[in-house]
């Protein structure tokens, strides 16, 4: 028998074979890959409409080989609502950063979730505004220095970092809400599974799926890539615990929640 070589690492079909503009050590590329894999898994690339947001991930359409609508800052869940209502037969997702989703777009994400729009939201939390140069984000950790919190985030004045995945899980309309990280091979594998579940909530249940991804921004953190990965484990995960907070419309540890 002649042995044949099998490719064990394939490019995600939903992604283009191009080099990204992201900084060295940035994990948007990894997260793009996980989303692309989820689209491949459900074989929905051809019927997916992505909604890009404002921030480093605005160039979604440069990397995903899908139809894309670009939303104003924070408004992606509202734009996605319009898209999904007009095309309920399509798979619709937003891809948003922490400033976009948890500051300027708080209203839109809460209400899209509360309406139970059949969309998937990929929320990238890197505790800073990446594109504008590392300002304080709604998820910036207490004491974290940024260009607009030069003495460190002072919670008595700046408030506290928001845990969005838990907050979204509280909403009756949300089917699935979870938080993952992509700072280690183990976490990346697990994150891929959970991102798929966030799409499954839409594809199979017609529900609202939310997945928060803890991600590194070495450039604005002033760190190397490896050190940034360590920070995710040492500082972010203790405050932003990983896990599935809601599944199939049921909050974890809450037997009375809707099911």
């Amino acid at each position: 028998m002649t042995g044949s070589l099998v490719s064990a690492f394939n490019h995600s079909k939903s992604l283009k074979d191009v080099v990204t503009h992201f900084c060295p050590g940035c994990q948007h590329g990894t997260i793009h890959r996980l989303v692309g894999d989820a689209l491949d898994h459900f074989q929905v690339q051809e019927e997916t409409i992505g909604v890009a947001s404002v921030g480093c991930s605005v160039f979604l359409y440069e990397y995903f080989d899908i139809d894309v609508v670009e939303a104003p800052h924070g408004r992606a869940p509202a734009v996605a609502t319009g898209v999904k209502r007009a095309r309920p037969d399509r798979i619709v997702f937003t891809y948003q950063g922490d400033g976009d989703l948890a500051a300027i777009g708080t209203s839109e994400i809460i209400h899209a979730g509360n309406r139970g729009e059949a969309i998937t939201v990929v929320f990238v939390n890197n505790t800073t505004y990446g594109m504008t140069g590392g300002q304080m984000a709604p998820t910036t950790l207490a004491g974290q220095r940024t260009s607009t919190s030069p003495r460190g985030r002072d919670v008595s004045s700046d408030g506290y970092p928001i845990r969005m995945a838990e907050l979204m899980a509280q909403l009756e309309g949300v089917s699935f809400s979870a938080r993952v990280a992509v700072n280690s091979p183990k976490n990346v594998i697990s994150a891929g599974r959970v991102v798929r579940q966030a799409f499954e909530a839409q594809v199979k249940e017609g529900g609202f799926g939310f997945v928060e991804v803890l991600s590194a921004c070495p450039t604005n953190w002033g760190m190397g890539a490896l050190e940034a990965n360590e920070r995710i484990g040492d500082e972010m995960i203790p405050y932003f615990p990983l896990g599935i907070f809601k599944e199939a419309g049921r909050r974890q540890g809450d037997a009375s929640a809707q099911g």
């Binding site: 409409i49 605005v58 139809d67 939303a71 104003p72 509202a78 609502t81 319009g82 209502r85 399509r90």
Partner: protein, 356 residues
């Protein structure tokens, strides 16, 4: 005999939108236009459409952006303070070349102002209310019938030029009841929406709806193209009503509800033997500049009426030949009531050089 209905302006614009094929409405309650979302919430589900009472005006305009990006005919409506909130979305829609209808049943401002009729949103509507220097198609109905008709016209123009359209009404136009003769939407040849996102569906290329242009020279090219569309509209799409201009020595101009009152004043003036005509802009953008530039030789004076301290009059002055005089009579928002025909007749008489 044709069916005639006795309806409010707000209902008429919603009925016209439905007849135009609009199946998606996104909005937020605000006086004096809440009849529109109420009507749509009742009627849209029956025709397979979608109604969403959004969490905000901002969400509404962005839902409209999303539905429009899919090629659907969709609309939102509001009144002045809410229209301010929609300016961000309108700028993005203009930049992304998305059609769609926004109805402004304008009320008094600034700020929370009041709920009585105002035409002080003219600047915001026609001069690029949001950032970036774009234009909207702006229509100014002056009757309940036109609220119905303009809804269809707005969608057709918006689809043809891929520019968002605004119907600029006011509290009175929205709330008053008149006879309406519904009619089927006119058959118009419109370009296919081959730019809409649908999911790739076997296409070999993706479709992208966006307003970000960072490539060298891309944005400049994009803006010149938008400018050319505005120029083309100025050439091809100006609409205005001319009344008794042939021998007019004084030409009255007004839009919307003010034009309606001015028409009565004009009749009174003609009955009194004064040679008075009228130009009623129907498209506020594109502005009927040709009508003013081409005033008959007899017309030595233009008298502009507005429910504001003077906004459209700037455009009237810009286009009226320099050897004519442009006069203005207006009332600021909050004056409490509309001018009466007698009041406008008094102004006409004064400027015509006669005692009223």
């Amino acid at each position: 005999m044709k069916k005639r209905l006795f309806v409010k302006g707000n209902e008429a614009v919603a009925m016209g939108a439905l007849e135009a094929g609009c199946r998606y409405y996104f909005g937020y309650p605000i006086t004096p236009q809440s009849d529109i979302p109420e009507y749509m919430s009742r009627e849209l589900p029956a025709v397979g459409g979608q109604f969403i009472q959004a969490e905000s005006e901002i969400a509404s305009i962005n839902m409209l952006l999303g539905a429009s990006a899919c090629g659907a005919r969709a609309m939102t409506s509001s009144s002045s303070p809410g229209i301010s909130l929609k300016q961000e979305g309108l700028s993005y829609m203009a930049g992304s070349e998305l059609p769609g209808l926004v109805v402004n049943i304008a009320r008094s401002g600034p700020g929370l102002g009041g709920i009585d009729a105002s035409q002080a949103d003219y600047f915001q509507a026609v001069k690029s209310g949001g950032h970036g220097g774009y234009r909207l198609i702006v229509l100014a109905p002056h009757s309940v019938q036109e609220m119905y008709d303009h809804a269809m016209l707005a969608f057709d123009l918006s689809d043809r030029y891929r520019i968002p359209a605004m119907i600029l009404g006011d509290s009175v136009i929205g709330q008053m009841k008149e006879a309406l003769t519904p009619h089927p939407r006119p058959q118009v040849d419109l370009p296919a929406k081959d730019w809409a996102v649908t999911g790739k569906g076997g296409r070999d290329h993706q479709k992208i709806v966006k307003s970000l242009y960072l490539g060298d020279g891309e944005l400049e090219k994009h803006n010149w193209r938008l400018y050319e569309k505005y120029q083309q509209m100025q050439r091809d799409e100006v609409r205005f009503e001319a009344v008794a201009l042939e021998d007019a020595e004084l030409v009255v101009t007004a839009f919307g509800i003010t034009a309606r009152i001015a028409k009565t004043a004009l009749r009174m003036a003609r009955e009194a033997g004064m040679k008075v005509g009228m130009i009623r802009p129907i498209t506020l953008f594109p502005f009927p500049s040709q009508a003013f530039a081409g005033l008959p030789e007899t017309a030595r004076k233009v008298l502009c009426f507005e429910l504001s301290t003077g906004q459209m009059v700037e455009d009237v002055r810009l286009h009226t030949p320099c050897d004519r005089t442009v006069e203005f009579y207006g009332r600021p928002p909050g004056a409490g009531s509309l001018p009466t025909p007698e009041e406008l007749f008094g102004q006409i008489s004064r400027h015509y050089g006669r005692k009223a």
